[in-house]
Symmetry: C2
Amino acid sequence: MDVMEAIITRRSIRKYSEGQITKEQLMTIIKAGCYAPSAHNRQPWHFVVIRNKEKLRAIAGFHSYARMLPGADTCIVVCGDKERQPQTGFLIEDCSAAIQNMLLTVHNLGLGAVWCGLYPVIHLTRGMKQLLSLPEHIIPVGLISIGRKGEERTAPDRFDKSKIHYEEW
Amino acid sequence: MDVMEAIITRRSIRKYSEGQITKEQLMTIIKAGCYAPSAHNRQPWHFVVIRNKEKLRAIAGFHSYARMLPGADTCIVVCGDKERQPQTGFLIEDCSAAIQNMLLTVHNLGLGAVWCGLYPVIHLTRGMKQLLSLPEHIIPVGLISIGRKGEERTAPDRFDKSKIHYEEW
């Protein structure tokens, strides 16, 4: 799929049909995350892959916007390493760029995904740290719920020229 | 360009050749930013386009990682609106996803760009707010320096399987 077509037609997909994503698809998605830009090229991300249904249900239990997770095939929790990038703001930016690469790649593979925020909501990051036994210096930034598409969504017109300013506000 | 090819081959470009990017290219780049996902679909971003050489030099004067700016054709400062998204963490995530869409689109157009961080470095956000007369509720998250490519950079191998964890850390 062409880059611009992927960017324009990508939508959040929260309903999934039966069927697994393949190991090759999973690696392609994570690889795309690894190729994001990062401050000082520190690549401070980690990826925790969750397919265990009990764990997916546990996340849905404490994350009210991730209630679709038990219906998904795979959840990838994108985490940032504070030892590698102590500036938390940059860590969040780097992991967000990685997530966006991954969402575009999921769409390119014909699969569906939605990004559910974690950081900086305390009960969500705490819940995830406990569930995944994350070390203290690892921040769960966001999760991606992925599966075979169970819905089709069309692209809205989001190009809003009123958001553009020239030379100053 | 195919999505995956764009993701893999995109590099930060800091050297530019003479020549302007067109109005159509500029609109395409900003449009890509507008199609990023955002928390609760609030689309809290704004784009300040700077082409004035004095302003580009002024930014390079206070941002030590943006010294290439006077050689660039265009700078786009991606800002987040705190009134639209009061949760700053989400605001940063949304704007970062927009920036990544824009970087991929620049690359797809055959142009070169580099993302220079602003938030949360206080002297950078303050300097930018003053220079661009940004209102109090508008946070400059990052800037993109864009121009015709003056260097070619090859893609490194960034896929690091040691960053992948299964079911827990």
